[in-house]
């Protein structure tokens, strides 16, 4: 047991101490957070500029109301963001417009808005500026103008704008997830997180699988393996390596979870203070999903880890390994391709069967649990079958490994590997 522990320790620190690991563990969440936070911060920051806009109101009815509506947009110091200045229409309207164009060009105004007579009967206003690509700003101005003009149109017809707006209110469809514990509003945050977790299982299985692969091939090609085997059993070396690298994976998860926890405590409140709209998003993941995440990651890791170790032991270099890895990679990619189908119909017979097949279970069963908790017997059966397969794979991989690891030269064929299993 001490020997396995020594191997675990070596594998663990050999990876954890590298710059690559530290950078990827700390940087990955930082980059992810940056992806979310930077656009939010940027959009918040771009609001911080005062603007003065000239308005030519041909109707004489719109300006006052428009001015009042725009007053809602404020700077941090409560001063107005948009200051509007009215220019009364003169007899020579094109002269006035070219004058205003000049003033915009010399930045006296950031823009001028021309409101024609026809506006009350369906006409369009014009926004004239040096740059017309700040869509957020144009949207804000357009909405304000809309509200004013539509209100005037309704009043003209003798209708109360407030009541009409109530009648026209968009009908929402709230999504509520029902579980044995009762009904709960689900705004999609849970699902999005589950989706991320499923992809995380998939990616880490492939990632840590190939670390095992590279480690075994390295030991073999550096010829260090026989020196190690003079002290311990091939099985101890294989399991020590798989456990040590698995511990690295769990360490990485733990660091990420910690960063996530800190971010959800402080980061979310920061985001919502800047963007009130974001407060609707809840990243509440039920603890049972975390539980199954860890269970399926560990079982899936052992299943694929032993496979990777067995394959690695039979080859001389990574190039040779790629070919033999094809079927293994297929087992991992297929569930991801079937993801949409399983999510749409999580209790359909195809989903149920796929989730019971041990090689698919780590991804498909976990996906089903995230979407809609399957009957307990299905979960238990899936975990049971997966567990048995893991035991069988460890046994099988150990047999292949113990012979393969000392074989140099020609890559063995599949019948030869079957022979090894029989001999040892």
């Amino acid at each position: 047991m001490n020997k396995i522990f020594a191997v675990i320790k070596r594998e663990y620190f050999q990876i954890v101490k590298t710059k690559g690991f530290i950078i990827s563990t700390v940087l990955a969440p930082v980059i992810m957070i940056a992806f979310i936070a930077v656009p939010v911060l940027l959009s918040v920051k771009s609001t911080g500029e005062k603007k003065t806009i000239a308005v030519v109101d041909m109707t004489g009815q719109v300006f006052q109301e428009f001015d009042r509506t725009l007053a809602e947009y404020k700077m941090k110091d409560e001063s107005r963001r948009y200051t509007v200045q009215e220019f009364r229409p003169t007899a020579e309207i094109s002269g006035l417009r070219s004058l205003l164009s000049q003033k915009v060009l010399v930045n006296e105004f950031s823009a001028y808005i021309f409101i024609p007579d026809s506006i009350l009967s369906g006409g369009e206003a014009e926004f004239v500026s040096q740059h017309v690509s700040d869509f957020d700003e144009i949207k804000r101005l357009s909405e304000s103008l809309n509200r004013v003009v539509v209100g005037l149109r309704l009043k003209k017809e003798g209708l109360d704008p407030q009541r009409v707006s109530d009648y026209m209110k968009h009908v929402g469809l709230k999504t509520i997830k029902v579980t044995p514990q009762g009904e709960k509003e689900d705004v999609g945050g849970t699902f999005a997180m589950a989706y991320v977790l499923v992809l995380l299982i998939y990616m880490t299985l492939i990632f840590y699988g190939s670390i095992i692969l590279r480690g075994v091939i390295e030991e073999k090609s550096n010829r260090v393996v026989e020196i190690v085997l003079s002290s311990l059993k091939p099985f101890e070396l294989m399991m020590g390596k798989i456990l040590g690298i698995g511990a690295v994976g769990l360490t990485q998860y733990a660091v990420w979870a910690l960063i996530g926890l800190v971010m959800s405590q402080y980061g979310m409140s920061m985001v919502t203070s800047l963007v009130p709209a974001a407060s609707g998003i809840k990243f509440a993941i039920p603890p049972y999903i975390f539980f199954y995440f860890v269970v399926f990651f560990i079982l899936g890791y052992f299943l694929y880890g032993t496979l990777y170790a067995a394959v690695a032991s039979t080859v001389n270099n990574e190039k040779e390994a790629q070919q033999m890895l094809m079927p293994i990679t297929m087992f991992l990619v297929l569930p991801i391709l079937l993801m949409t189908m399983v999510i749409k119909d999580p209790s359909g017979s195809t989903s149920v069967i796929l989730s019971l097949i041990p090689f698919f279970a780590p991804i498909i069963m976990f996906m089903r649990i995230c979407v809609l908790m399957p009957p307990a017997w299905q979960v238990a059966l899936s975990i049971g079958l997966l567990g048995l397969t893991v035991v069988a794979m460890v046994w099988l991989a150990a047999k292949i490994y113990r012979i393969g690891i000392l074989m140099y030269g020609k890559k063995p064929s599949l019948p030869e590997i079957v022979k090894w299993i029989k001999y040892s």
């Binding site: 001490n2 030991e219 000392l406």
Partner: protein, 300 residues
Amino acid sequence: MYALEIDNISKRFGNFYAVQNLSLKIPLGTIYGLLGPNGAGKTTTLRMIMNIIIPDEGKIRVLGRTMGEDMKQRIGYLPEDRGLYPKMKVGDILEFLGEIKGVPKNAMPGKIDYWLDKFELTGWKTKKVDELSKGMQQKIQFIVTIIHDPELIILDEPFAGLDPVNTKLIKDIMLGLKDQGKTIIFSTHRMEQVEMICDNICLINKARMVLEGNLAGIKKQYGKNTILLEYEGDIGFLRNRPEVEKIDDYGRSAEIRLKDKADAQGVLAGLVGKVRIGKFEIQEPSLNTIFIEKVGRSEQ
């Protein structure tokens, strides 16, 4: 008690016998040479002793007990295919390999420093393995083999790739270990090393043992029927002399095998005046000759 008793072991890979019906006994405190051409089954034999390959038939007893995992700590094994983790520091790798050999944690630093000093590698403890020269790496591998103070030391081709200085260093340490009562088994196909340090030898060819026993005894068995000659000139005419069985002519020296009970004096008389003689010595055949003859015979 013997350091090693092998009783009729065989190992097959498919239809190919790597080792067939091999038996031998190695006394404690001796140096034992396992000889044989490439592919004879030396490495497979050593791997079976180490429990890395399990024999199909037969028994192996090490230090008086059946070989098992628990015995590995009492054996030091230097495999033929050997290497180190290239990215690990020398000190770390010695610590790791010592730990899995069961060296107590508190004894480790002392042992590491002692052996690094003995092999003139003290300054390299914190360097990574891939910064070391090949010869230095081989010395580290040798330290790994003996760091846990094993009673039985098994060396598969220990001198392969070593320069003369390091060969002497390793040879002296082997003899030193023998003086401490350790038993050493080593495989090689370099006969001069065997003649220098081995007490007993075993010659394997094509999975089978063809010769075994005390080195001096084996040589005596062949008798003093060989002339070692150093000369200048042409000795081709010797082939026609009645006493001569066979000549291995190397141009400036030759090994001349005589027929049974033939007298070497006749050959000497024949040589005088025809060539310049630098050395004329009657002795036992060299192990090299025995080796080639034995292996050659079993080829037929």
